[in-house]
């Protein structure tokens, strides 16, 4: 039922990490040395590695009350995955762990070869440049043009102006908004605003796209538009994880679906082939 592979020595791995790198290399086996090094420097990162791996991850905000409990999972490159569950099941927390907005209390998370629990200093920004995130409430700047809103993701890495302009134009064309690039978000419909947010997430060509209830505020027709955009990102090689409680979407697309309940992973249904 569960296709992930939880590696047994991981609980020992934490002890190794605490006792230092030398011990890890000498005593805990080459695999763990490589894992640590990957978490620390990304030096041993291999291309065929899964972009997202979670091993026995737990997280609580209030002592004794776990938002995420002992979750292990792996996502492959270019995979499109739904994350479902009722409100409060832990979907948002799981996404936040993946873009390092939160840190796990227990377990290991490797995102693009980086160990989330050990990210320091510039580690978080440099990870986020490779992970696009989309929210239910869009998070757009109301007083800036659509173009500016998308370009902000390129500004932070100092993309030259001309290059930035053409990339923004291309991604806006992908989401069908190139003609509205000078408008402010308030002049756009909800669906259009979400397309701007997706354009902002995709303009850096991220390896992972995380979406938290991206269609939560949208009509069913618009929801399908948004889903199609994210599916096409997956076909271009981006790993896409979409948290939603909209069962109709899940049933329509029949992609791999992970279900959380009370912070635990209770179901992991592989893709069955369907629309898209």
């Amino acid at each position: 039922m569960l296709p992930y592979r939880a590696s047994p020595p991981l609980t020992r791995g934490r002890v190794c990490i605490r006792t230092g790198r030398l011990n890890a290399l000498a005593g805990c086996g080459a695999a763990f040395g490589a894992l640590m090094a990957a978490g620390k420097t990304g030096f041993f990162e291999r291309r065929d590695e899964s972009p997202v791996r979670m091993y026995h991850v737990s997280k609580s905000y209030i002592p004794g009350q776990r938002a995420i409990e002992d979750v292990s999972l792996e996502l492959s490159k270019g995979e499109f995955v739904f994350l479902t569950g009722q409100s409060g099941a832990g979907k948002t927390t799981l996404l936040e762990l993946l873009f390092a907005a939160e840190r796990p209390d227990d377990g290991q998370i490797l995102v693009l070869g980086r160990n989330i629990a050990r990210l320091r200093g510039t580690g978080v920004p440099s990870l986020r440049r490779r992970v696009g995130v989309v929210f239910q409430d869009f998070k757009l700047l109301p007083r800036r043009s659509v173009e500016d809103n998308v370009r902000i993701a390129l500004d932070v890495v100092g993309t030259p102006r001309r290059e930035a302009r053409s990339r923004v134009f291309n991604v806006l064309r992908q989401v069908g908004l190139q003609h509205r690039r000078q408008h402010e978000p308030v002049a756009l419909s909800g669906g259009e605003q979400q397309r701007v947010a997706i354009a902002r997430a995709l303009v850096t060509e991220p390896e992972i796209l995380l979406a938290d209830e991206p269609t939560g505020n949208l009509d069913p027709d618009l929801s399908l538009e948004i889903m199609e955009l994210m599916l096409s990102a997956a076909t271009r090689g981006t790993t896409v994880l979409v948290a939603t409680h909209d069962i109709s979407l899940v049933e329509r697309y029949r992609r791999r679906t992970i279900r959380l309940d009370g912070g635990r992973l209770v179901e992991d249904v592989p893709a069955a082939g369907g629309i898209g």
């Binding site: 873009f99 990870l127 440049r129 902000i152 500004d155 932070v156 030259p160």
Partner: protein, 299 residues
């Protein structure tokens, strides 16, 4: 274009956008810096002028030692030779009684005051010039000590008391200026910090989005430092302009009082370098204020 250059330009643009979007509070903050610097600048202007007078006075400084009435011309020459050997003395000139009378007559404009005199009442004197390094209160002290023991020398007029007094007034002005400047600068820092903090709150959504798309800490914070520094520069320029206007408008009215403080010296305004220091002080105030604001801010 190099990515670093692009980032720096982006940060500057972002700082200027921040300044414009908070123009009301930013202008008040800049005006506060301007007022603080205006007061500090006014004190500094008084001090540079007074120091100028002191320096000019010391340059011209000479000591007059009056000789007693029974000293004849020959003895006067001998005393002059001995005085010339004192440490720090450059030159000694003997002014005979007749010459003294002649000088007095010229100074008084040939006044009838002297007409009734049967006898020259003026004593002969030695005019002693000191070398540059000894034109200080200490140098004058050494000379006074040496003259004290010499026979035939009466009263010594060395202007030391006047210089001492003037130096004391200058240092009082300087200390008051420093105290007022420090207090005002601290108050200004708080106002700038508060303004920047308001700007941070106003742009919290933008900062959250920046963090989400992978902006570094420096990228998020630098625009606020630029904003604070620009406010400071603006305040500095305003203070310089207002000082200059005040100087032009008030100088004619103050001339009488200034003659007392400055003697015959012509008052002067700051020169270019000093104005730059004033404006740079504004920039530093703005930068420190925004730094203070960021230090207390946890994203």
């Amino acid at each position: 274009m190099n990515r670093v250059v692009v980032i720096i330009l982006t940060l500057f643009r972002s700082g200027i956008i921040g300044l414009r979007s908070a123009s009301g509070t930013a202008l008040i903050s800049a005006a506060t810096i301007g007022i603080a610097l205006f007061l500090v600048g006014a004190f500094a202007l008084a001090i540079v002028n007074m120091e100028g007078v002191q320096e000019r006075f010391s340059q011209k400084l000479s000591v007059t030692a009056y000789l007693e009435n029974d000293v004849d011309d020959e003895s006067a020459l001998q005393i002059a030779e001995r005085v010339a050997t004192v440490e720090g003395v450059e030159q000694v000139a003997v002014v005979g009684r007749d010459e003294a009378l002649e000088r007095f007559r010229r100074m008084a404009g040939g006044a009838s005051l002297l007409e009734g005199l049967e006898e020259n009442p003026l004593p002969a004197s030695l005019e002693i010039t000191l070398v540059d390094l000894s034109r200080t209160p200490e140098g004058l002290g050494i000379l006074a000590g040496a003259l004290d023991g010499l026979p035939g020398i009466g009263q010594v007029a060395d202007g030391r008391e006047w210089i001492d007094g003037y130096a004391r007034v200058t240092s009082l002005v300087r200390v008051s200026g420093l105290a007022i400047g420090t207090i005002l600068s601290l108050a200004t820092l708080l106002i700038v910090a508060n303004t920047i903090r308001l700007g941070i709150y106003a742009r919290e959504d933008e900062l959250e989005i920046l963090a989400l798309v992978g902006a570094s800490r420096t990228f998020v914070r630098t625009p606020f430092l630029i904003e604070g520094t620009l406010q400071g520069i603006l305040g500095g320029v305003w203070s310089a302009v207002i000082l200059w206007l005040a100087y032009l408008l008030l100088m004619p009215q103050l001339e009488y009082g200034l003659t007392f403080l400055l003697g015959n010296a012509q008052p002067r305004f700051f020169h270019g370098g000093e104005l730059l220091v004033l404006i740079a002080s504004g920039a530093v105030l703005g930068l420190l204020g925004s730094l203070a604001s960021l230090l207390g801010w946890r994203r």
